[in-house]
């Protein structure tokens, strides 16, 4: 049984590479954990430093609100920016700061209505050096805490570009995320990749409802997932663990 779950996580991680870099897939072996690690190393080495990156300026990352705003940001991206970011594996730097203090000097693609977070449009890393010099990495060392399930709704932005086509009818999914030995800062990274990529792939759209379900670990749930964030296990360095996942439509 464990082998089956592990294989599904490897397949999910491989699927993510295929989606981001279809140009490389023909050359890459993504069939095992060792092959996956080698492929990632190669992609890192080939990285020319001009891949698109987003800076997320974090003031108050209370998860339900932050999750909604992350989706709104991803929905607001025009197709070319979204594609560049997807190709760069939705790389995002989380910096501590107050977006409302920075609006005069830096351009944000989206700022939460309460100023709790703000996102720059995907751009080459050299474009965000000024922000990186001014701010510090968000520490967020506390472990994520479990709470009762909370349902949030992704709003309809004034205009949105992701997915290209007309809006589909809203759906409802569970959003699971792991809390045991996962810090707030790590949780933001995992959820950011999962949600941004889900929005860019059309899995999450305007009007959708997400029920947040923090659990110590996502073990035993993987059969119900339609998108999963798989990364190195907190306990075992050469094994994957599911850190966050979206279920099929409820």
């Amino acid at each position: 049984m464990p082998a089956g779950a592990a294989d599904r996580l490897i397949a999910a991680a491989a699927g993510r590479i295929r989606a981001a870099r279809p140009d490389l897939v023909a050359d890459l072996d993504l069939s095992s954990m060792a092959a996956l690690e080698a492929a990632r190393a190669r992609i890192r080495d080939d990285d020319e430093g001009d891949e698109a990156v987003v800076v997320a300026v974090i003031r108050a990352p209370d998860l339900p609100r932050w999750i909604v705003e992350t989706c709104v940001f991803a929905l607001s991206l025009p197709a070319d920016r979204a594609d560049a970011w997807r190709r760069g594996f939705t790389r995002t730097l989380h910096l501590a700061g107050q977006p409302r203090h920075l609006g005069e000097r830096f351009r944000f693609a989206h700022v939460a209505g309460d100023g709790s977070a703000g996102w720059t449009a995907p751009a080459p890393a050299s474009d965000v050096l000024g922000l990186r010099r001014l701010l510090k990495t968000f520490a967020g060392e506390r472990e994520l805490r479990p709470h009762a399930p909370v349902t949030v709704r992704v709003p309809y932005p004034a205009q949105y570009h992701a997915g290209g086509g007309p809006a589909r009818p809203p759906v409802h999914r569970d959003l699971y995320y792991a809390t045991a030995r996962v810090s707030v800062a790590e949780g933001l990274v995992h959820l950011n990749h999962l949600l941004a990529e889900a929005v860019l792939d059309g899995l999450v759209g305007p009007g959708d409802r997400l029920t947040l379900r923090p659990v110590p670990r996502l073990t035993g749930l993987e059969r119900t997932f339609t998108a999963v964030r798989a990364e190195t296990d907190v306990h075992r360095p050469h094994t994957l663990q599911a850190y966050a996942a979206l279920t099929e439509e409820l």
């Binding site: 501590a96 107050q98 203090h101 001014l134 701010l135 510090k136 968000f138 520490a139 506390r142 800062a185």
Partner: protein, 374 residues
């Protein structure tokens, strides 16, 4: 008549864990001359509270280290050098105690003004140095808690839009002046340890607005932090003046006291070299001529015992001359001092002290020397 202006002089204290070195003495003499000279033209508050900075990790960590490695020890007769050597050992350690290990010490400082006997001993020795050197003692051994608790200070910063408190998520507390293009600065670590800037803000947020001018004398290496303080505390009613002072290299190198190497440059050694040749007033004036006028605000010249001795000889001649020159009255003294104010309210210690050596100075007033330099 205009009201007497209020000036706040608030240097960062020297950690009481080691001997006073030439760099420390330079800062202390600059502050002392500034304080005493400005005191004739303004109401000066010289805030120099060790209590405020005992909460920093350098101090609490050292105390915890002493108790952990030395056990119950009598520091009553320890020398500065002996305690300083323990401090060098502490700073050389790679592993630092966590917040939990420091908590009993932090609580004792906050609750009762407790001071570790090793630092108590160092402060007692420093009081003796101050007396010998003719330095005004701003309360080295007094319990002088800052006006705000740590939480109150953070609340005020946040309320003013200048603080970012992310402790709820295991983040830091930052001083946030990014709206003015100044970099975010951590002041409390995620595990709750305040740095010296957090300690300074606990008193400055209260004291600064009560003054017309705030003067910061500081080590040049701390300039980025003082730019933040200048921006934060300056207002229509309070002008902030920054006076950076370079350290004194020893043998061409600027080395922090945490690395040791002070053995030939403690106060006792400095004085031993000039004690036989000169009387107390000449030594006091000579030290000020050397550390203020000769070394100046920069950090280019290494410390030299021979030049210090020359300064004392020169001070001797100035004192002889002052004894012959007519004594100025207090109005004349104020007029003389005001020439070194320029656009600010504080008296520039460098220009004032240098003027004693200028050929153009016609008289040396004994009153000026005794009021400001002895």
């Amino acid at each position: 008549m205009a009201a007497v202006p209020k000036v706040l002089l608030a240097p960062i204290t020297v950690t009481p864990s080691k001997p006073l070195t030439p760099s420390h003495l330079k800062g202390l003499f600059w502050a002392d001359v500034l304080h005493r000279a400005t005191g004739h033209l303004a109401e000066v508050t010289y805030r120099y509270s060790h209590t405020t900075y005992h909460r920093t990790e350098q101090v609490l960590g050292f105390w915890e280290f002493l108790d952990r490695t030395e056990g119950d020890t009598d520091y009553h007769d320890a020398t500065e050098t002996e305690i300083g050597e323990l401090y060098v050992r502490y700073r050389a350690q790679e592993d630092r105690p966590g917040a939990a290990a420091l908590r009993p010490y932090a609580e004792a400082v906050e609750e009762s003004g407790w001071v570790h006997p090793a630092s108590e001993r160092v402060l007692r020795l420093w009081s003796g140095h101050y007396e010998r050197l003719g330095l005004y003692d701003p309360g080295l051994r007094e319990h002088q808690p800052p006006g705000l608790g740590l939480e109150e200070m953070i609340d005020r910063l946040v309320a003013a839009g200048c603080g970012l408190d992310q402790r709820r998520w295991g983040g830091s507390v930052h001083l946030d002046l990014t709206r003015w293009g100044l970099p975010l600065r951590q002041i409390v670590t995620p595990d709750g340890r305040p740095n010296y800037l957090a300690c300074a803000l606990r008193e400055l947020l209260v004291l600064a607005p009560r003054h017309d001018e705030v003067v910061f004398l500081y080590d040049r290496e701390l300039a980025p932090d003082y730019r933040l303080l200048e921006r934060l505390l300056g207002s229509a009613d309070t002008v902030v003046r920054c006076v950076p002072i370079g350290r004194v290299p020893i043998g061409g190198r600027i080395v922090s006291a945490r690395h040791g190497g002070w053995q030939d440059h403690t106060v006792d050694r400095l004085l031993a070299a000039v004690d036989d040749e000169h009387d107390v007033p000449a030594i006091r004036l000579g030290l000020r001529l050397y550390f203020i006028a000769m070394l100046g605000p920069g950090d280019q010249q290494s410390f030299r015992h021979d030049l210090l001795a020359k300064s004392c000889a020169r001070a001797e001649r100035l004192l002889d001359r002052a004894a012959r020159d007519p004594k100025a009255d207090s109005a004349e003294l104020r007029a003389d001092l005001s020439r070194y104010q320029h656009s600010h309210r504080y008296v520039d210690p460098y220009r004032l002290t240098s003027s004693l050596l200028a050929r153009s100075r016609r008289t040396i007033d004994a009153g000026l020397l005794s009021e400001v330099f002895l």
